[in-house]
């Protein structure tokens, strides 16, 4: 084969006076067509986050891919075994840092169930409101850079402007922009400030307007359609087998949302729907998030309208810090405060798996307690882990540019992926 090629090459090099002109087929036959290997990531502008894939390319087509993670592994699960239950909350902020409050909610909800504590209704409603607000900005983080990857930079400014305004409200409410640490086991860091509801309704309106503009700009855009429709589809059966949850699963047509399936915090009493895709392609994965933002807005409006009054802390002395005047003026209060801070809340021995619907899917906490104030073992089930495990397989057969938009549509957050 090799010798024949050489012969052909030399024959082609000599000036031919007779015979036919070599066509394109002859040209490609002589071309060197070995697979090329390309490291896609871990620090590439298109792989938002420290994600690495090794691609085997035939031209621009990916024939085979494998992934590697762990670049942001910082030992969350090991570290929190040495913290009291409340001290774990700031660590959970750093899982999916685009929607820190949803992680706080997932964790505190799990510990509260272990303690068998019922939190006040006002706390539940506030958690729903700020949780849905976090979900909205998390989806904006997915949508904005997604279109930048396709060359539509304008959309990023539309949605990130509004995200910034949400951060201003969260900053005012929780004291931090990104890593809020807003929830506590049995309550919240603080109640709504005066006029918070009005501010939230205003930013929610802003987000709805922004995504309306973005949808108008993109949904009928030829480039967006060509680059997303039919790209890297995942069937419902595969999505279940991969362990997809959240928007990526619903894009494949599976109607599973924990807020509906196993309702918590009165989610079943609000009037809202679960948007579901049909094809499971990149288009569905992006646009299902537009609809989810609108549903979240509906939930926030209803929750604010029906926001009950009352305390934000449970009366359970196992978790609630005593009033400051008791801490300073009587010995029982001081001891109670000291023990709660230094020894932590004693959680009964046992194990639970508690799931909540985070922005990217099912965020599960599998907590084992030995009866002390420190968790014996905390396992986080991060939704991104399953999404990224599937990524190398679903991009095979498509092109590098398709891999970029598909990665964006899966919305992998490295903090949660690597823990």
């Amino acid at each position: 084969m090799k010798a024949a090629d050489d012969k052909k090459m030399t024959a082609a090099a000599e000036p031919e006076l007779t015979g036919t002109v070599p066509g394109p087929e002859d040209f490609y036959q002589d071309l060197h067509t070995d697979l090329m290997f390309l490291n896609y990531g871990p620090s590439h502008p298109a792989t938002h986050g420290t994600l690495r894939s090794l691609l085997a390319l035939d031209g621009e087509t990916i024939v085979s891919a494998v992934g590697e993670i762990g670049y942001l592994h910082r030992g969350f699960e090991k570290s929190v075994e040495h913290k009291t239950y409340n001290k774990v909350i700031p660590y959970t902020d750093r899982l999916n840092y685009c929607s820190a409050i949803l992680n706080n909610i997932g964790y505190t909800k799990a510990v509260e169930r272990m303690l068998d504590i019922e939190i006040p209704d006002r706390t539940k409603f506030i958690r729903v409101i700020v949780g849905e607000l976090s979900r909205m900005i998390d989806h904006l983080v997915c949508i904005g850079p997604q279109f930048v990857d396709m060359g539509a930079l304008t959309n990023l400014w539309y949605v990130f402007n509004e995200r910034e305004k949400v951060y201003d409200v969260l900053d005012k409410l929780t004291g931090a922009r990104l890593t809020n640490s807003y929830c506590r086991v049995g309550g919240l860091y603080r109640d709504f400030y005066d006029g918070c509801e009005k501010d939230i309704l205003q930013v929610v309106k802003g987000i709805e307007d922004a995504i309306g503009e973005v949808e108008k700009l993109t949904a009928k855009n030829r480039i967006v359609i060509d680059r997303t429709v039919g790209i890297c589809p995942v069937s419902a059966e595969d999505a279940i087998s991969y362990g997809f949850t959240g928007p990526t699963l619903r894009a494949s047509g599976v109607n599973y949302d924990i807020r509906k399936a196993q309702p918590y915090y009165y989610y079943d009493t609000f009037d809202w729907e679960v948007p579901v895709g049909t094809q499971g392609d990149t288009w569905d994965r992006i646009y299902v998030r537009f609809y989810e933002i609108r549903e979240s807005a509906k939930i926030i409006r209803q929750a604010i309208k029906n926001l009950p009054g009352g305390p934000i802390w449970t009366e359970d002395k196992r978790v609630k810090l005593p009033e400051k005047q008791d801490t300073y003026q009587n010995i029982e209060g001081l001891i109670n405060h000291f023990k709660l801070i230094f020894e932590g809340t004693r959680v009964p021995a046992g194990e639970i798996y508690d799931a909540s619907e985070a922005a990217n899917g099912e965020l599960g906490f599998y907590i084992t307690s030995d009866g002390s104030g420190y968790p014996y073992r905390v396992r986080v089930r991060p939704p991104c882990f399953m999404n990224f495990a599937a990524f190398p397989e679903i991009i095979e057969g498509f092109m590098i540019a398709d891999a970029t938009v598909t990665l964006g549509s899966l919305n992998i957050i490295a903090g949660e992926l690597d823990r």
């Binding site: 085979s64 362990g243 798996y353 495990a389």
Partner: protein, 180 residues
């Protein structure tokens, strides 16, 4: 724990010799399964029309080395299954020591692949017939298994090399019948 949940009752009836114990706490149902039997129990859970646990939601492990209450073995692997049609969950647990292998769940669920790699990486438990059992979160040169209770939290290891990933790539290309 006055009455047993239907899922646990069914598992106990179907596998009287393989279900070691069952318990329910705070609404979570747990069945402890014999290590050798886990594949057939998982397969039954997935395919039985009354159970229909089509999701392997989570697979992780616990090291009971310093746990105050004595356990059957040092480690436990926990499978969290979820059934979409029945809207129910169950936890299956398998106890194992460090040198005991557990059969992989990869043929049943694709999600098992990376989660089993994580358990191997963090706890050093091995899964028999796993297609690609290598470290996932920690570096390839890492010595030891960090989530074991006897691994010191503040221990540091200098790690420098880069994983070319070609071992995985070669397997993948071979499976597709490609050469390079």
């Amino acid at each position: 724990m006055s009455e047993m949940s239907p899922v646990l009752t069914k598992l106990k009836q179907r596998f009287p010799g393989d279900v070691v114990s069952t318990s329910s706490w705070r609404g979570d149902d747990t069945a402890v399964i014999k290590r050798e039997a886990i594949t057939r129990v998982l397969e039954f859970c997935k395919n039985d029309p009354d159970l229909a646990f089509n999701f392997l939601m989570d697979l992780s492990a616990v090291d009971y080395l310093t746990y105050p209450k004595a356990q059957p073995a040092r480690f436990a692997v926990a499978y969290h299954l979820y059934s979409l049609s029945k809207n129910q969950r169950v936890r299956l647990k398998v106890f194992a020591n460090a040198n005991e292998e557990i059969e992989t769940a990869c043929p049943l669920w694709k999600s098992a692949n990376w989660m089993e790699r994580e358990v191997y990486d963090q706890y050093g438990l091995t899964f028999k017939n796993h297609p690609n059992l290598k470290r996932i979160l920690n570096h390839q040169e890492f010595v030891g298994h960090p989530l074991r209770k006897d691994y010191p939290m503040r221990k540091r290891q200098p790690l420098g090399s880069v994983d070319s990933l070609m071992d995985e790539m070669e397997k993948r290309l071979k499976a597709k019948g490609l050469r390079y």
